[in-house]
Symmetry: C2
DNA sequence: AGAAATCGGTTGCTGGTGCAACCATTATGC
DNA sequence: GCATAATGGTTGCACCAGCAACCGATTTCT
């Protein structure tokens, strides 16, 4: 370590990651919004319930890595629009079981292929090997971040970490 | 294309990218905020001016990929705190030339090593080759996004795209 | 030269998001 | 068994970001 490397933004991982993630997100959010009137948090909930049938809000927050208040509001909106159904759990009245309504499932089945098509479009130019490599690197960086700063993982919507 | 692949969130690039970028950003933002009292947009401006001496707000927006209103407010704050200096450009009175004050440069020189140290910490476990591969993939995906959805690049703070 | 379009930058407004406080319910400790 | 803590979820609040309207300065078109 002598003259300290210059730190150019273009070679700075957090910055590059953010720009790319934002651009991808915005492009995708446009599809959700224009075609289906749902936001990204709402989409994450629909996707999770599409995949798992029935989950609680807490499960969804953990799985889709969102703050519990974000989930709460997104669920409220989806429930109000008849996309998600809330059922009480007789065994534990604190929590609610969430599931897609038929209408919700319809949306999921319409959005999912579009989302995947979008992903394929983004991946054009990358070989299958390169895609695997990319996911592998993301996995490892993700794991690294969880060990570096475990407390700020939005997934654990608990106050324990505070 | 038959049964349509399942679409699991964990294998969905936009989602994975966003989670990783958010975690990395938050961890880094904590350093900026706690140690130096600056936000991410403010940091991007300081970093850009640290790298280039003198730029206009428009240049910074393009280079650091931020909306012009974000830049405007961040610059206002930095100028108010004596970190950035604004000088009129006699050749074009619309724009202002921005530069770090000595105090600003001091902050840059204190933050930059910390930011780089953080990056190194995140990269622990990745070989230099893998880092290169990662940046290469990000570059290509970035380029791909610009051609897929050129209008939503926050960099071109112009209204042309509207 | 004059009208109209463009450009750099600022600002009011709105929507979204995280935090923290809170509510009701369930688990724990003595 | 009862007080206390913890948990799932909701909500008020404050902050931040983007959009769009706007302002003054400059360029373009005729």
């Amino acid at each position: 370590m002598h003259g300290a490397e210059p730190l150019t933004l273009e070679r700075f991982l957090p910055y590059r990651l953010n720009v790319l993630a934002t651009t991808v997100s915005n492009a995708l959010a446009r599809i959700y919004a224009e075609r289906f009137g749902i936001t990204i948090p709402q989409w994450r909930i629909v996707a999770t319930l599409g995949q798992f049938e029935t989950r609680t809000a807490r499960d969804i927050a953990a799985h889709a890595v969102m703050h519990k208040s974000t989930v709460s509001r997104a669920v409220a909106s989806l429930a109000g629009r008849g996309i998600v159904e809330r059922r009480p759990n007789a065994d534990d009245m604190r929590e609610e079981l969430l599931a897609l309504t038929p209408k919700g499932r319809g949306i999921y089945e319409a959005v999912a292929p579009e989302a995947l098509a979008f992903e394929r479009a983004v991946f054009t130019g990358l070989s299958p090997d390169e895609r695997e490599t990319l996911f592998g690197l993301i996995d490892r960086l993700d794991a690294r971040m969880r060990s570096l700063a475990p407390d700020l993982d939005p997934a654990d919507a608990s106050e324990v970490s505070r």
